[in-house]
Amino acid sequence: MPKAKSNTTKSRLNIQKTYKIYIGGKFPRTESGRYYKLKSADGDLLGNICLSSRKDFRNAVGAARGAFKGWSGKSAFNRSQILYRLGEMLEGRSAQFKEELVIQGATPKQAQAEVASSIDRLIYYAGWADKYQQVFSSVNPVASSHFNFTILEPTGVVAILAPEKSSLLGLVSVIAVTIAGGNTCVVLAAESAPLSAVTFSEVIHSSDVPGGVVNILTGRRKELLSQFTMHMDVNAIVYSDNDTETISKIKRDSTSNVKRAIIYKGMDWSSAAAESPYFISDVQETKTTWHPIGK
């Protein structure tokens, strides 16, 4: 329970929730021991949120890299089922998510809609997980005696700066498209509204998503941005807010190892345009294979 509403009730003292980060399927506190105070619009303390450090990020990338082989090697059908399971788990805990959205400033109606859309989005991409390959692959009619085909493969480890303005639906969207296609990721939660992300990590943990596939950090963007953009073992970086300076920095720093910089500027995650298999293909590589045809 968030701290603001949970100090006391009539009968007993409530247990307050500790907001932790999520790395490699575990819930550590930040190794730095630092935190920031998250307050509601009324100035109530909502929680002490971990200020993840560069080392936390490094550990998270390590966990994501470690999980990549297993996750990308799972069958698409299996990934589809796991995404569906995520949707189920979110549905089951929708009350908590609504409550957290509300104390972070949403109206009950808005919160209700965002949670519902988030669940539906997971189900939507669960459906795509074993279909996008068929939409985007091709058999190429080369002129020589070869069988030639092109398929998509996950880009690898994706660093995600979760949308600041859509702390649950945006978060769920970018994570879903990333893992539906077999990538693993390290996500930095919305700085101003991190509660949904932390709680969503618990949903992930209670689904069948293997540890390390999704890693969720909380903390300051400014502090961690360079870590996200410069890490040499991150293959792609996703950003979906509008700060042009950040966008330039991401694009510029991505040259360190030719990261794929995927920018969704001005995206409204509740719009119809925010739902499409092309988001999955954005974090995919295209592989073409040739083989002779002979006897």
Binding site: S144, S145, H146, P292, I293, G294, K295
Partner: protein, 305 residues
């Protein structure tokens, strides 16, 4: 035969695999070599010297063989410096005639034997056929392998049969015809080549000329590569004879290129390479005449035997 006893006999089921498209690509590179002027002139003469002038028909007569033998010795007397062909290739019953006609010419007589072209006869008949040809004076024996047995997977039978024919040949050189047109795949052709090589063939040969397709560059390349591997493994050289379907000098030059770039210079003589062909010689002569006189030639000026 005792020589083969000291060899490691490979398991022919494990013969190297061949990729057909890769073979096609390599062959296409050979055909893109441009053979001009001096290289062409030398090459054409080399081709003539490698020809086994062949007549293998039911209607062959002594007269026909005599004419062919004369042609073998006198390819085109109106031009100077034309080499003789390597051999004349006939049925065993006509070996004696050919031998007599070619006496003192240095041209070998080759006889097809072992129930040519099908090879469908008992071993005893095949050996008798071989011995007869050798007794009649054949310098070279062109045998056929038992393709049926090969396709049944009875490699031991095929191997032993070649060994027995080799023994029956005595001093005569043994060319082993795989009849590649019946073996269907390049993998099979490679495997049959290996069997023949390890069983003691002096030459391996593509075809009888009675089955289509006969020699192709693709098939010949696979066989040349088998010869190369055998040489790598044993240090022994074995000859190669593509037969049937090589009628034009341009194609024959492509074969020479392939030979040169696969086995190298040591194989570039009639001792190690032959063309089994009946009409190739005239086309080569026409080309040589064109080289010499500068104008394109007509078949009317070259004897048909």
């Amino acid at each position: 035969m005792s020589a083969t006893l000291t060899l490691d006999i490979p398991d022919f089921r494990n013969s190297p695999r061949v990729d057909e498209v890769g073979i096609e690509e390599r062959v296409s590179r050979f055909t893109k070599r441009s053979i001009k002027t001096e290289a062409k002139n030398t090459g054409l003469r080399l081709i003539l010297s490698m020809i086994d002038l062949t007549t293998l028909e039911g209607k062959d007569t002594e007269g026909k063989v005599r004419q062919l033998c004369y042609k073998a010795r006198h390819l085109h007397d109106s031009m100077e410096g034309i080499p003789k062909v390597a051999a004349v290739c006939v049925y065993p019953s006509l070996v004696r005639i050919a031998k007599k006609e070619l006496e003192g010419s240095g041209i070998n007589v080759a006889a097809v034997a072992t129930a040519f072209p099908s090879g469908q006869a008992p071993k005893a008949v095949k050996l008798a056929d071989t011995k007869f040809a050798v007794k009649e004076g054949a310098d070279e024996v062109d045998m056929v392998i038992s393709r049926g047995k090969f396709l049944e997977g009875d490699y031991k039978f095929v191997f032993n049969e070649i060994g027995a024919v080799k023994e029956a040949c005595g001093e005569a050189h043994l060319k082993v015809i795989l009849e590649t047109g019946e073996l269907s795949t390049l993998d099979n052709i490679r495997r049959a080549s290996d069997i023949a090589l390890y069983a003691g063939a002096d030459f391996i040969k593509t075809s009888t000329g009675k089955i289509s397709p006969a020699a192709t560059m693709q098939v010949t390349l696979v066989m040349l590569e088998a010869i190369r591997d055998y040489y790598y493994a044993t240090g022994k050289m074995v000859g190669m004879k593509p037969a049937g379907g090589i009628a034009k000098s341009k194609l024959a030059l492509h074969y020479l290129v392939m030979l040169k770039e696969t086995l190298g210079n040591a194989w570039m003589t009639s001792k190690w390479f032959r063309f089994g062909a009946s009409s190739l010689a005239n086309d080569v002569l026409m080309q040589l005449a064109k080289q010499e006189y500068g104008n394109y030639q007509s078949m009317d000026y070259f004897s048909l035997d």
